[in-house]
């Protein structure tokens, strides 16, 4: 009986075959824009809307993932008008600034110092492969310190990744 069991076990063992399952992948040269946090305006004063944390807002955060070094530029343009709002009579003053919030590589430490700002746009040269998080502080102030009328206000920040 013992011999039969041994023979059966040996037969089963012979039938068990290991198969290599190939897993392949391809990392393409690409730029990925991820909207980590859309951002929220706080209303610290009746005439002011701001995404600053101190003003009760939430900073919008955008992440850029690039898989090829020195091939892309990040351009972030802060809003200069509301995409929707109640009717406004006075001129709104817009301010916006973009900064590097976090990086995945120590080589990206120079991004902030090397940024180029014009109008409402800030450009970063993405010279290192990896992820970079950018945050933007936005504010809108109603003219003559008049309170913003009640309603829903929204504005759009534009994040661009341009191949060099």
């Amino acid at each position: 009986m013992k011999n039969i069991l041994t023979a059966v076990t040996a037969t089963l063992a012979l039938n068990v075959m290991a198969t290599d399952v190939p897993v392949s992948g391809n990392v393409q040269m690409r730029c990925l824009i991820t909207t980590d946090i859309p951002g929220v305006y706080g209303n610290p004063l009746p005439q002011k809307l701001s995404t600053a944390t101190a003003d009760g807002g939430v900073l919008p955060v955008v992440r850029y993932d690039v898989t090829l070094a020195d091939s892309y530029k990040a351009k972030i343009t802060t809003p200069t008008s509301f995409s929707s709002s109640p009717a406004l009579i006075d001129t709104v003053t817009w301010t916006g600034s973009t900064s590097v919030a976090q990086t995945s590589d120590a080589g990206m430490s120079g991004y902030e110092a090397a940024k180029v700002t014009y109008d409402a746009t800030t450009e970063y040269d993405l010279t290192v492969a990896g992820s970079t998080w950018f945050s933007a502080t936005l504010s809108a102030t109603n003219g003559y310190d008049k309170a913003f009328p009640g309603g829903v206000y929204s504005a759009v920040l534009v994040a661009e990744c341009i191949a060099k």
């Binding site: 393409q28 040269m29 690409r30 730029c31 990925l32 824009i33 991820t34 909207t35 980590d36 859309p38 951002g39 929220v40 305006y41 995404t51 919008p60 955008v62 993932d65 090829l68 091939s71 892309y72 809003p79 995409s83 929707s84 936005l138 829903v152 206000y153 929204s154 504005a155 759009v156 920040l157 534009v158 994040a159 661009e160 990744c161 341009i162 191949a163 060099k164």
Partner: protein
């Protein structure tokens, strides 16, 4: 609570946080970065294939545009200039440009189109541009 319990609790919290971050990721991707053109079935017209991936659950439409080095629009043909895409959908599309316009073409861009009513407080529009070399 003993050390093992604390470890399990931390691991569970990290896993849930990771899951939330993964699920909530909203990304826009277009490849290739440097498209190559080839002859199409129409003489005098060149074509390339682009691929767009929508991982933004807040975006359903992407606009395609071709521009020269000064960001002036260049005429081109695709099946749709405004692509409707579901969340996590990948779309490959052929883009055709006249041979005479191709020498002036520098960028192929896709821009997310936000629906006005969907933007709450601040919205983020994303644009990715590939370069024709």
């Amino acid at each position: 609570m003993n050390n093992r319990g604390v470890t399990i609790l931390i691991c569970t919290a990290v896993f849930i946080a990771g899951l939330i971050l993964t699920v909530d990721a909203k990304a826009h991707e277009m490849t290739p970065t440097y498209p190559k053109f080839e002859s199409s079935f129409v003489s005098g017209v060149m074509k390339t294939k682009m691929r767009l991936f929508n991982r933004r659950n807040d975006v359903k439409y992407y606009e395609i545009g071709v521009f020269d080095s000064e960001w002036k629009p260049v005429p081109f043909v695709t099946s749709y200039k405004l692509l409707q895409m579901d969340y996590l959908e990948t779309v490959s599309f052929d883009l055709y440009i006249n041979t005479k316009d191709l020498s002036n073409s520098t960028y192929i861009c896709s821009k997310s189109k936000l629906i006005k009513s969907d933007v709450i407080s601040t919205g983020i529009a994303s644009r990715i541009c590939s370069k024709i070399k």
